[in-house]
């Protein structure tokens, strides 16, 4: 088995907020998050809005704002990911495919934007080859972002990320606003990268899409990883009640909702964040939740076995 390219252990992120006047408070947004991404695999991270998905991407690249504090261990190819290392790796070995098309510079043509100021020989050819790989002709280099359609802009964002042959691609919601066919095509590009040995971290709220594209799926709830398992197992045997509830709520699988909503950052009770909505709640749920590992699977629940 391949060694993990990226390991995240017990990551917590909190923000310092000014509450009233000069009174400050710490707002924990991610608590005890775990994740592993391997070469040649697409690992999807699924969670509803506000579960801390985008923050994870920003933490990995050292892009958190100044008032954020980050604890826990992040390892890249077995080595601690320090601030210096992040800065050295990002944009080269570790790249981000951002969420929004607004991440392109509106006043710069696509070509120079992909070259990022480099002028040495071969850069132009490299860019042309990358664009061609995603079905964009040389005329795209002369275009400004506003001239691109939604789908083209997505492909430019991916091109921009893979010019340098990255080891780890972090894709933060790369498919919103695209119809099924276009989204599948974009995911096909990620599959291709993974097949060439790149590790892909695919962040999304769309479970259905994650299941069609990814090898492994990690489910986030209120800033905590509740379960990580192979995409193929998903739903067939959910270990965590939240995962089971998510599965049953899909339009193709019953469309049955559970009541309530995800707790706000800083308003969670101790113990399992899902406990207030869980139909299998027990007394132990209020305490520390042990993590169970079964092979490569990861389950954070006091109950043994699968949810029927």
């Amino acid at each position: 088995m391949e060694n993990p390219v990226l390991e995240v252990e017990d990551l917590s992120i909190s923000f310092t907020q000014y509450a009233h006047g000069a009174g400050r408070r710490e707002l924990p947004v991610i608590r005890g998050l775990d994740l592993t991404v391997r070469a040649g695999e697409i690992s999807a991270v699924v969670g509803s809005s506000g579960s801390g998905k985008s923050l994870l991407a920003h933490a990995l690249l050292g892009l958190l704002p100044y008032n954020a504090a980050c604890t826990g261990v992040m390892r890249y190819k077995g080595q601690r990911l320090t601030r210096e290392k992040m800065e050295a790796l990002r944009g080269k070995e570790m790249v981000l495919v951002p969420q929004s098309v607004n991440f392109l510079d509106p006043l710069m043509r696509v070509g120079p934007q992909l070259a990022r100021g480099k002028r040495e020989k071969g850069v132009k050819e490299k860019i042309r080859a990358v664009l061609a790989r995603y079905g964009l002709g040389p005329e795209t280099e002369e275009m400004y972002p506003f001239e691109l359609s939604g789908g083209m802009a997505r492909r430019v964002l991916i091109s921009s990320a893979v010019v340098e042959r990255p080891v780890l691609v972090i894709a933060d919601e790369p498919t919103p606003g695209l119809d099924g066919t276009a989204a599948k095509r974009i995911l096909g590009h990620f599959r291709e990268l993974a097949d060439q040995g790149t590790a892909v971290l695919f962040i999304t709220h769309d479970l259905e899409l994650a299941l069609t594209a990814a090898d492994r799926v990690a489910v986030f709830y209120a800033g905590v990883t509740v379960e990580e398992c192979p995409a193929a197992d998903f739903g067939r045997q959910a270990h965590h009640p939240y995962t089971a509830a998510l599965w049953r709520a899909m339009p193709g699988n019953g469309f049955v909702p559970i009541p309530g909503s995800q707790p706000y950052p800083g308003r969670e009770e101790a113990g399992c964040p899902f406990a207030p909505r869980c139909d299998r709640r027990r007394e132990e749920c209020a305490g520390t939740i042990p993590v169970r590992r079964e092979g490569r699977d990861y389950i954070r629940c006091v109950r043994e076995g699968v949810v029927p």
Binding site: S49, G150, L207, L246, G252, P257, I258, Q262
Partner: protein, 199 residues
């Protein structure tokens, strides 16, 4: 009640080709019509025309045979937007946002899971899913007969999606509303609609 779009053609700019050309569509009370189609085909534009936010370049929008624009009072056709963040005034607290659509039954608020203390919050203090609950409550005012749902649940997780649809379908059934459901998700349309058309 019957909402009809008759050979609707619409272009945003004179020198461009029209986004919609000769589209005819009709929605009746009690019906749930699904609208599918790739991005850029004009699904949202069609919703805007049917709700009266835009005037068609040619063709007409009729409600029970009279033009939508000729009616007075609250419009019986309401549009539920894709992005709730941009559909509420960021400078109004949620109780005022809700009041824009007229009085809302407390039972509906409860069914939608809207907590009483959310009413005193600002839109920026609520998540997309929570805002969409308010938008749904606001669009379901007493005068509403036809509701156009433009990807109302695309950005929500599946549990929140299923929660909102459960409430909306029950309400539509009780009040004999007509729904137009725009979505990229074939499974969703199959689940909630009585008939589906592709643009």
């Amino acid at each position: 009640m019957r909402l009809e779009g008759k050979s609707l053609t619409f272009r945003y700019r004179k020198d461009r080709k029209p986004v919609l050309e000769g589209i005819t569509i009709s929605i009746e009370s009690g019906e749930r019509l699904g609208l599918a189609g790739p991005s850029g085909r004009g699904k949202t534009t069609l919703c805007r025309l049917l709700a009266g936010y835009e005037t068609p370049t040619s063709g007409e929008v009729l409600l029970d045979g009279t033009p939508l624009s000729a009616r007075k009072g609250p419009c019986p056709v309401q549009l539920l937007w894709q992005n709730p963040e941009t559909a509420v005034d960021p400078r109004m607290r949620m109780d005022r946002v809700l009041a824009e659509g007229g009085p809302v039954a407390p039972e509906l608020l409860e069914a939608l899971g809207i907590e009483p203390d959310w009413l005193k919050r600002w839109p920026g203090e609520l998540s997309g899913g929570e805002l969409q609950r308010f938008c749904l409550a606001r669009a379901l005012g007493p005068a509403t007969k036809i509701l156009l749902c433009d990807e109302m649940s695309a950005m929500l997780d599946y549990i929140t999606q299923a929660q909102l649809w459960e409430v909306l379908l029950a309400e539509a059934e009780r009040r004999d509303l007509g729904l137009l459901v725009v979505s990229h998700s074939g499974k969703l349309l199959e689940r909630v609609c009585t008939r589906v058309i592709t643009l």
